[in-house]
Symmetry: C2
Subunit: 408 residues, 2 copies
């Protein structure tokens, strides 16, 4: 890291508590209502960077990939990592919509390009909502030029609210990097709720900064941040057709030490990932699984993911039920060779299993550990140095209720 | 197949409708109550084959494998596929119970061996129920000699009931094979409910026949049957510490054409698998996914499994909600390369998606297809000859309720 005055990454507000952070220098934003799913709420959000930004993006790996994501991939490639405007709509995913869906995505990107006076390949556009329904272009297109004209350098709140679907609150986070008396910010927002899983699923996040970054630098920062955040959470194991994380750097605040920017990206992404889990459909209680002592980090991740994704473990978490046997059973089916006698299981710091046998912890203590708002599971495999973590939440009746009647 | 009079495999009763089938010749059974979890119900079942039977068994692949399963593996190996008595208890899984748990399993097997006057390695023993709790040997051991003495050649019902945990009804199925005027039967029972998944999970099944089969023959029949039945169903994706399928052949009815016996094994196993799904915890509606036109059978299975296991698809099935976009999204994350424009999706014979676009089927018809007692999903990938199927059920609030409060 560069010398002189110390470089510092400091916290700022996170949603929903606290005021929404101001966009970094160089960015403006606005929102509009096109009554895409139902009238009366903002369902289109735009972020502009009139002087141009470098862009990195990670898109869903789902083979049934929405039209706008296909378009975005092309724009990212053809622009060589540059972007001047991003438009996201909620209420309709424009996925599984065939040639007409692709034509709609192109038409929207072209409208944004005209409104902002930029090349179409400098536009990123995504949609989130129900699959298999066409976008109401007749209502959306007329909103685009006024939106572009209205965009101001204000808070990220309006954009963060416009992209929400079943989210119950908007999600944002920011960090300020101070270096030799100068500052820059990293400001992100996200929408999540159901269908969250590694490799991203109906999750859309936009992270902006006014630090100066090349396309290759911002790509590196984004990938490192996503790996330790969005790729470590799951609500329901489904990855969607539209998941995307975008990162844009305006450069308006100049250059900063890469380590500090990377750290700020990681912290913002981790905040957003945790906000997504806490707003998971039907969320009542979280589960944070830490696995240590594994033969490798990859093994630790497999075991942590298996535990955090197990329906039976997740039901036990909801019930505050200290049925720790389900945790061992989930670990045992992760595809990693285990020595049962070497396992040590703690939940909330309470010993539950070790040396091949259940611990004698009284029931009341075991129950208390399972009734925290975040159930902290720590399983040591006793067979190496590999460590990883994974975060999920209890499976609830409210989740089933919400998802059993979504389109109709 | 041997000539002469035709060989015929014919249906018999299946549980819960219809009377329980009689055990094949050579087998006797009994049950007892040891108040393992709570008093007042039969919680131990024994099947004997006093003249000896050949044995095949498939055990859980979970690394956290219960003590009795570890013991069974050794007995199967050391006896070279022979067994004279099997004892299963419900109410306690004897899993994650350390050295004491293993000593308990050994003590039970020894007690069965003494009571039946057979070698310990001729005993198979399994347990099902809660993990991490020790068996109440003081109450169980005294029951074993009387049980062995009471065993009679009757119906399979008492045994099938004694091994139930959260099952709401006992499960059995049988087939009669007729060949040149002689008959033999294949009679199976199972316990299932939650935690069912390929490679078996808190699922215990015993299939008996009086056909004469070598250890290698019965092993082949069992593996073929399990592959097309228990390995094609899922309730919640969790595999357990205790899952086992046992097959025993007494030989009392003599030799029969292998193809007919294999067919009877397959049909019995498939009946039992379907009964398990229909009795899945909180079951309201089933989902049968057929995938065709895949590059390979393995690809077809991956896609079918991904669809049938998707929480969002399973919630839609519960809600009778024709949200078919979730089916495509689940197919898209199965790890198989898909050409979206080549996909054809039908549910209950109703066209929903083809040629890259949603079909124009009226909502009422789409809803009706999702509101059958078994939702029949057929996805053609349009890229090969591979075909497979997978069966699951809707995810319900009742499932969450049952599993959020199981130990306490």
């Amino acid at each position: 890291m560069a010398s002189g005055a110390p470089t510092m990454v400091s916290d700022a507000s996170q949603g929903p508590a606290g005021a929404a952070p101001l966009l970094p220098l160089g960015f403006t934003a606005s929102a509009a209502s096109a009554a895409i799913k139902k009238p009366g709420r903002m369902d289109m959000g735009m972020i502009r960077c009139p002087a141009g930004a470098t862009l990195a993006a990670m898109y869903t790996t789902n083979q049934v990939c929405a039209a706008p994501v296909q378009l975005d991939r092309r724009h990212l490639r053809e622009s060589r990592g540059h972007c001047s405007a991003i438009l996201v709509n909620s209420g309709c995913a424009n996925a599984a919509t065939g040639d007409r869906g692709m034509a709609s995505a192109v038409e929207i990107a072209d409208a944004v390009a005209r409104a902002c006076d930029i090349a179409s390949i400098a536009v990123q556009h995504n949609s989130t909502g129900v699959i298999g329904v066409q976008l109401p272009l007749d209502r959306m297109i007329p909103q685009i030029a006024p939106m572009a004209a209205r965009a101001v350098h204000g808070s990220i709140e309006e954009f963060a609210r416009a992209i929400m679907t079943t989210d119950t609150y908007p999600k944002w986070s920011s960090r300020t990097v101070t270096h030799q008396g100068r500052i820059c910010t990293v400001v992100g927002c996200a929408k999540g709720a159901g269908m969250i899983h590694p490799n991203m699923a109906t999750m859309i996040s936009v992270i902006t900064t006014d630090a100066s970054l090349t396309p290759s630098e911002i790509d590196g920062h984004l990938r490192a941040a996503v790996e330790r955040s969005f790729h470590r959470i799951s609500i329901d194991g489904d990855t969607s057709t539209n998941d995307s994380v975008f990162a844009l750097a305006s450069g308006a605040a100049g250059a900063f030490p890469p380590d500090a920017i990377r750290e700020a990206f990681k912290e913002v992404a981790r905040d957003l990932a945790l906000l997504i889990v806490r707003d998971g459909e039907g969320y009542e209680r979280g589960i944070h699984v830490r696995v240590t002592g594994a033969p490798s980090d990859a093994d630790a991740l497999s075991v942590a993911k298996s535990i955090a994704s197990s329906l039976l473990v997740r039901c036990a978490v909801t019930g505050g039920d200290p049925n720790w046997g389900r945790i061992l059973a989930a670990a045992g089916r992760a595809g990693v060779t285990l020595d049962v006698n070497a396992l040590t299981l703690n939940v909330g710091g309470i010993a539950l299993f070790g040396s091949g046998s259940p611990s004698a912890t009284p029931l009341a203590e075991r129950e208390a550990a399972f009734r925290k708002s975040m159930v902290e599971v720590h399983l040591d495999l006793g067979s190496g140095e590999g460590a990883e973590e994974f975060i999920s939440c209890g499976l609830t009746k409210a989740y089933v209720e919400l998802n059993a009647d979504y389109t109709t």
